[in-house]
């Protein structure tokens, strides 16, 4: 019984441990450059949990990260290392701005913008899927290359096609009818959060309660067994890519229609960049589980939001959090981490006892 509980809890413990290792390494690097790590972390966590405003901002930032985390998590479940969320987010955002050129009633306009974003993300996930199935091109290479293509395409589109005639540095804003209402005034938290949460639950249901989800997971875990059971592997791989693309595309759309005050893209795409890459970390910490992804997204978002305060009050460059995130993921790569610490702890205890007795 106890071992069963331990098996269930172990992934969560692993994530916590990796988080601690990340923070510890961050502290060491800060200390090397003469920053005060404790002040920095004090500022970081006060910013996240210390105020209603801070926590609202964290949830606002978590909104797209839940979705990009899902993109990667679905990929892993289906046996694919899909790191194309970054580019798919850009495409989703561009689509959401494009459809705001239409004039539609408000409720329908929101729906149209989300669907357009989802479709754009899914379409951008098709080339890697096609290349993998027909040419055996590994998705890490194809998705990364397409991320760069999407980035420059987006930069071009924002200036040349969707540019704001009044302000050269940004695109036109989403039509007022396609915007999601703000939830906490003064913050950028909108009802987009519920779209994300709903999507997460939908994926949870799909993966564990439907035949498609079951087949997808079998292909991900054991392609040979899937083949033996008559599951069409290529169909499953394609579904995995498309589902991931839908999630990332929605993330892009929400960053437009649910992201005040501008409801627009800047010419350097700054408001949608790194969401896809952060999603990888979110999924890994969330153990590639749709529900775990929600909590991991809040954690990652908190680091991002808190980093700004940390930079202002403790003077530590906000890029510090990317270093911490990197260390956390490296730590998560070693699955025997917690066993290792379990082995180390008695060793340390013995050593202390030896020192005491001598």
């Amino acid at each position: 019984m106890l071992t069963r509980i331990y098996e269930q809890v172990k992934p969560i413990l692993d994530s916590f441990l990796a988080g601690l290792i990340g923070l510890a390494m961050g502290a060491i690097i800060m200390a090397i450059w003469g920053y005060a790590p404790l002040d920095a972390y004090d500022a970081l966590f006060t910013a996240i949990f210390g105020s209603f405003y801070g926590f609202s901002s964290t949830l606002a930032r978590a909104t797209p990260l839940i979705l990009t985390g899902l993109t990667f998590a679905i990929g892993v479940r289906g046996g694919i290392f899909n790191i194309g969320a970054e580019g798919q987010v850009f495409m989703g955002a561009l689509a959401a701005i494009s459809v705001s050129l239409l004039s539609l009633p408000s409720g329908i306009h929101v729906l149209v913008a989300i669907i357009a974003g989802a479709m754009a993300g899914a379409i951008w996930s098709l080339p890697p899927s096609f290349l993998k199935i027909t040419r055996g091109v590994h998705e890490v290479i194809s998705t990364i290359m397409l991320n760069w293509v999407a980035l420059y395409f987006g930069m071009y589109a924002v200036v040349e096609w969707l540019g704001d005639p009044q302000r050269a540095e940004k695109s036109i804003s989403a039509a007022t009818t396609s915007r999601l209402p703000i939830m906490v005034s003064g913050t950028s938290l909108t009802y987009a959060l519920f779209v994300s949460l709903a999507f997460s639950l939908l994926i949870f249901f799909l993966l564990w309660r439907t035949t498609l989800g079951f087949e997808l997971r079998v292909v991900g875990q054991n392609p040979a067994a899937a083949n033996y059971a008559g599951i069409k592997e290529n169909y499953s791989i394609n579904s995995t890519f498309i589902l991931g693309g839908l999630a990332a595309g929605v993330a892009g759309a929400l960053q437009i229609i649910g992201h005040p005050p501008t409801y627009a893209l800047y010419s350097d795409l700054s408001t949608v960049r790194n969401l896809g890459f952060d999603g990888i970390g979110v999924a890994l910490i969330g153990r590639n589980h749709p529900i775990g992804v929600i909590f991991a997204a809040v954690f990652f978002a908190g680091l991002n939001v808190g980093a700004r305060t940390m930079q202002i009050t403790a003077g530590v460059p906000l890029e510090m959090v990317r270093i911490i995130q990197g260390v956390i993921i490296i730590a998560l790569a070693a699955p025997e981490l917690i066993e290792l610490t379990n082995q180390l702890l008695p060793a340390v205890r013995n050593w202390i006892n030896e020192v005491k007795t001598s």
Binding site: P127, V137, S142, M145, I323, A333
Partner: protein, 302 residues
């Protein structure tokens, strides 16, 4: 005449652009042949570019900087090798972590060391000397890279050590039975690969660009991974691939200085080309690449 001058200029830039991609790719070939995949090349390029620049500027010697960059690759290789080989961890996830860490470190370091969020120009005294030609400068490291490529080719095709590396990737159990220490071979192959990527990173900051920016690597680590696929794990083909990708990479660099072209093709589309070419080259590579049988799988002794 004008055309040939331009062409020669592009060729010279390509020879520079070839270096980081080829070094990272050839290093990756050593590691992948032994059975370990390292997608953290992009991160290694960034980390080494940064540490190399810091140490070159602190000591005033580009050579010390270069060695620091190489040493940085070596250390990251130890980390990745330890996780992949001895802890039997997930090699791809470890690589993702290294990439994220590298991106963070260079962005953090630019502010922490030089108080600039944008780009830092490395003073001439800390940069590597170059061979001047009428069409631009060629680096000594370009020549070193050619030597490394042929040396690695000889290593993996004609030596006993090369045979050991290959069999650890293809059939680790057989290697084990034959008395090869699979874990040790894989570990050192990984470290050697990362060390070459480290040289590539230091080359970018101390030699080629002479500048440090957040996006210095600009996907070249991943282009190197694509080059490995394109090369089918043959170092000589990786050199060719590195040159081709370097050529398209340098088109962007060259066009950004030639105002005429920008009128006809938007700069965004020119900057896209290396990635599209890479994608097409990998997709069109004749025949599928055959990778070592046990690539990416930790070896578990019974």
């Amino acid at each position: 005449m004008e055309f040939f001058t331009s062409l020669l200029r592009i060729l010279v830039i390509s020879l520079n652009a070839m270096v980081p991609i080829t070094l990272a790719a050839v290093g990756e070939i050593i590691g992948e042949r032994s059975g370990v995949i390292d997608i953290g090349l992009e991160g290694i390029l960034l980390i080494s570019a940064f540490t190399g620049a810091v140490s070159a500027q602190a000591t005033g010697s580009p050579y010390v900087g270069l060695l620091t960059g190489i040493g940085t690759g070596f250390i990251v290789g130890i980390l990745h090798g330890f996780i992949s080989v001895y802890l039997k961890g997930d090699q791809v996830i470890s690589g993702v972590g290294i990439n994220l860490f590298g991106g963070g470190l260079i962005a953090f370091g630019l502010i922490a060391v030089w108080q600039t969020p944008g780009h830092h120009i490395i003073p001439a005294s800390a940069r590597m000397p170059k061979i001047g030609t009428p069409y631009g400068n060629i680096s000594y490291i370009t020549i070193l890279t050619l030597a490394i490529v042929f040396a690695v080719y000889y290593l993996v095709t004609n030596t006993k050590l090369g045979l050991k590396i290959n069999i650890c990737g293809e059939h680790p159990r057989a290697a084990d039975v034959a008395g090869v220490n699979v874990e040790r071979v894989r570990f050192f192959a990984t470290v050697a690969g990362a060390t070459l990527a480290g040289l590539g990173g230091a080359f970018m900051s101390l030699d080629w660009f002479g500048v440090l920016t957040k996006e210095l690597a600009a996907g070249r680590g991943f282009i190197a991974l694509a080059t490995v696929v394109f090369s089918k794990l043959n170092p000589l083909l990786a050199l060719l691939g590195g040159f081709i990708f370097g050529f398209f990479d340098s088109l962007g660099v060259w066009v950004s200085s030639a105002a005429g072209v920008k009128k006809y093709i938007p700069w965004q589309f020119i900057l896209m080309t290396p990635y599209i070419v890479t994608l097409l080259a990998v997709a069109g590579a004749i025949g599928r690449a055959r990778f070592p049988d046990k690539l990416g799988e930790p070896y578990q002794r019974e």
